[in-house]
Assembly symmetry: C2
Homo-oligomer: 587 residues x 2
């Protein structure tokens, strides 16, 4: 087997794009770092139809080497780099939405960049092209959006550098952005990610054909350096697992391609191929310009400064990360989510399980996993009707309509959906699987992918009226910590749990000397139960006492017989499950 | 704060080494891939004194850019790259051992390499230097060892490429190697690691000053390409966490060094500095030669072939990996350990927790952690006297002297140490912390760092007479799997566990309705016990029945009163702890 050489990145064939439009802005534009561009041209494409209220526009921001061509416009058109996500009936549904994608400032696919003629000199800018920032890229997009007569975007969406643009849009033009979808991005690059970019730029700039960036009229260009930078970039976009899968078994069987680069190993011939392909369609000065913009993107060097930057946003967020992305690791996305949570901004988050690495945002299989989350966030589909359950019925009884609720271990979000139907100012679920997150979001409720064993996103004190822990506390190792966090974040906590001191279990344990097991909530074997804590009602009450927690209300149930157990009926013996409404003791 | 620019790698100042000796081998040497070198010179240093029996020699193999200078020979001498590990009273104790370290074949620090004059042409080999392999490097070292009159090495030790040399020594000259210490190495490189090397070599070979490798008489050399390769290498040797720590807060405050490379970011000026420093002291052709040897190192492309390669070894092993090493990730070391285990070879293994990345084998703090393991493996210190306990006394009673034993969850190895004192053909412990591994090894017993929640190394069926699980089964989620593995690997399993149906607990549970808690083994609170399974004696017997496991012997104890509970005394009620001797039912 010879490794598949198909490129996974966002660069296309280099053919002229038939549907590109150009917007010309002849007035000077002041850049973020002080320099000025005398005029700007922007290459862009649109998909779908702008509605009468100009309210259905979605702006998509591309990554380093991408362009405006998201998807084919018709059957004869070239494939697009995000056609799995954008198109008629897709997650970003062009039957319903008007989608705009423009080539970035500094690029080489139609928008003003280093290869553009500098009107002051009559030759290409080359190294005279100013240092642009992500903010400048966004300002150019804003000119375009304004020109199109749009005052508010239904959403801004982007992965990698596109995610940074999205963050910039949301924080700098908050009234323009209803929803922001930030994929595989971060508040600033890791030092490691910058280091890779530095080596790539050094390779280009030390290429003797670079001529200090003024190579356009020399008949040569720094193609070796650019190819090296591209090879290196490629490694960082893939996961090690995926490279092993792709190249390990036939590592000594390279493809025999035409190249001056080493092609000794299978992975070597792949990199050479990728490098050679790239130099034919991308400008080295644009590569330097855009990677520098990315490396300089910085929402603040401390947590406080990052909070300050984010504070301006007024959108609701969807943040996505990929488990095998080591260039923009999930920990960076979780930090963004924690900051947004701290600021009380509506946010959903999911870490998609995949071995696709950073490139995952462009790959069909991860898109299949996260597409439904994007669709749900854009309200593409009607909310799914919630499933009712006796357990949820009882919890609903305890929560006054109009309360804000956080559901820790929300499953598919059915309780939250029913709360939503009753009207609730703020709802959020926490779960771990992508499917549960997607299901919860399809109810129109924010959901966050956080492992309760590890920690909670940073919800503010008393952010919610109620925090629900339904059969959750008994599955975590750190019961005390989670309960105290719930009571910090919520005014009240509702804790639903199995009473492991129910009569049947006691009898089994005391008479038979066997670990309790019975139909219903006790049906697990001792050696494979998902539970790891086995409290009785009395235990839970004791813990509350110890923690200084007030039990405002306690309800006890015999689920088998479908009846409520009164407080005078020895619930610790008679009840199978309990629901406690807890609050902090007022000091 | 400006980032610390001190190099963490193994390259020294470039000054001539005062204590280097040279061994000349004037006869032709046939290389592994078919070519021949007409003669070889080897630069080496030695430390300590060879004893009369020539039995105390340790060979240390260096990594890509290292050399023979491990440690200072006297107060005036240069620092050495492994002086934290090697020297008087150190883990590799030169008061006791005779330590040899030679520069590798293909290098540029004294041993024959591409810069050596080719006797056939009278000019340096340059690109005519043949493709050498790790096997060739080892063959040259073997010539040196033979010349020194040594027929058996107390140990061969190496990290990274040095680890690959060690693997080659142990499998190709098994009668020469008593102990092999393999650090941060693997059976073959990952595709990702090869990919980084490919980009580095491409940078060198596409440098216009490379002249196809024949640059020695041109007055110039591919210093830009070599610097780029070095920068890239540097990134892969560090962990992302360490780079963040070092460069993140002052990322925009680079050091103002003299360089043509980009020095815009703190990490950029660091890389430029490392690149510039390196080209003054290392030869580009050697860099290509040695990285190719590393990339070509391959113990087999399938598990079966790797087993076949390893099968030849007759040494005992110590394998070490570093938690943050992503170039040679711990999973690769665990695979080696699994293969060695499968072959029944004595092996200890530890994954050292550190953020030092691949470079950890050279860094003081990780060396402090793993030094004791190396010392223990070399028998540097007298075995530590074991601590006795009643629990271990009882287990010892059940194991006939001369039995082989695997202790899963061996703690500090006290039970194994006592078994060793009684004489045992084969002993091994499994634990998770470096301190426990070190403590167990200090008893002279092999110990392996494996998380029982995740899996066991691949011990052969019936490898041990007894597998001990003392208070272990109740702490793992997958009880059935671990028990069946124990009974596959051992002829018998001895399972010691807490009886959660003891009278005190039953009374507490049935009368008070509280999760059982009592002095001794039951003293944990329900909400923070390390246990996650709570079997009674009867439960464990039921599980054995269900699994088709024979209970050969059962002993029950009232620990509080220090007495044995007879079978007629209702042990499930009266015993606090139980010890079962289990075996597979004969079909």
């Amino acid at each position: 087997m010879v490794a598949d050489f198909e490129s996974t990145d966002s660069v296309r064939s280099g053919k002229p794009l038939r549907h590109v439009q150009t917007a010309v802005f002849p007035t000077p534009m002041e850049l973020h770092l002080g320099e000025t561009l005398p005029s700007i041209e922007v290459a862009y494409e649109t998909y779908g139809t702008l509605d009468g209220e100009r309210s259905n526009a979605v702006l998509i921001c591309h990554a380093i080497t991408g362009d405006s061509h998201l998807a084919p416009h018709d059957d004869e058109d070239d494939p697009g780099w995000w056609e799995a996500l954008v198109g008629p009936g897709k997650a970003v549904d062009t039957d319903r939405l008007f989608v705009i994608c423009s080539n970035v400032l500094g690029g080489c696919r139609g928008t003003t960049g280093p290869a553009t003629i500098n009107p002051a000199t009559g030759i290409p800018y080359g190294s005279d092209f100013p240092l642009v920032t992500v903010e400048d890229m966004v300002d150019v997009q804003k000119r375009l959006v304004d020109r199109l007569g749009i005052r508010r975007l239904r959403a801004v969406i982007g992965g990698s550098l596109g995610g940074h643009q999205t963050l910039s849009w949301a924080t700098r033009y908050p009234d323009y952005v209803q929803t922001a979808v930030v994929i595989a991005a971060s508040a600033r690059l890791t030092a490691q990610a910058i280091a890779f970019d530095v080596v790539g730029r050094n390779a280009i700039q030390s290429d003797p054909h670079f001529h200090g960036g003024q190579y356009y009229d020399t008949g040569e260009f720094p193609q070796t350096g650019l190819a090296l930078a591209r090879m290196l970039g490629h490694i960082t976009y893939l996961s090690s697992e995926a490279m092993t899968r792709k190249f390990d078994l036939d590592r000594h069987a390279p493809r025999d391609i035409v190249t001056d680069f080493e092609k000794r190993f299978s992975v070597g011939s792949y990199l050479a191929y990728q490098g050679e392909q790239f130099v034919g369609r991308f400008d080295a000065n644009s590569y330097i310009t855009i990677t520098l913009a990315m490396d300089n993107f910085d929402m603040g060097d401390t947590r406080e400064k990052r909070l300050e930057t984010l504070r301006a946003a007024e959108c609701d967020w969807l943040v996505l990360s990929f488990s095998s992305d080591w260039l923009f690791p999930p920990s960076q996305s979780r930090e963004l989510v924690a900051l947004m949570t701290r600021l009380g901004q509506p946010v959903s988050y999911c870490e998609v399980e995949t071995d696709g690495g950073h490139d995952s945002f462009l790959l069909p299989s991860p898109i299949e996993a996260f597409g439904p989350l994007v669709a749900a966030k854009l309200g593409a589909r009607a909310p799914r009707p919630p499933r009712e359950s006796a357990e949820d019925d009882r919890i609903l009884e305890l929560i006054p309509p109009g309360s804000s609720v956080l559901d820790l271990g929300c499953g598919e979000g059915d309780l939250l959906a029913r709360l939503r139907e009753r009207g609730a100012p703020l709802l959020c679920g926490v779960e771990v699987s992508t499917a549960s997150i997607a299901a919860t979001m399809q109810h129109g409720v924010e959901a966050i992918d956080y492992d309760l064993n590890v920690g909670l996103p940073e919800f503010d004190d008393n952010r919610f009226d109620y925090v629900v822990l339904s059969s959750t506390l008994q599955e975590v190792p750190n019961v005390e910590h989670l309960l105290s966090e719930a009571l910090r974040v919520g005014r009240r906590a509702i804790v639903g749990f199995t009473n492991f001191a129910h009569r049947t279990l006691r009898e089994m344990f005391s008479l038979e000397g066997r670990a309790p097991k019975a139909p219903g909530p006790y049906s697990h074997e001792w050696y494979d139960t998902p539970n790891r804590r086995f409290p009785s009602i009395q235990d839970m009450l004791d813990l509350c006492e110890k923690m200084g927690v007030t039990v405002e209300e306690a309800r006890y149930y015999d689920d088998t017989r479908g009846r409520v157990i009164g407080k005078d009926e020895d619930p610790n013996l008679a009840a199978e499950t309990a629901l406690l409404v807890l609050s902090k003791k007022i000091a």
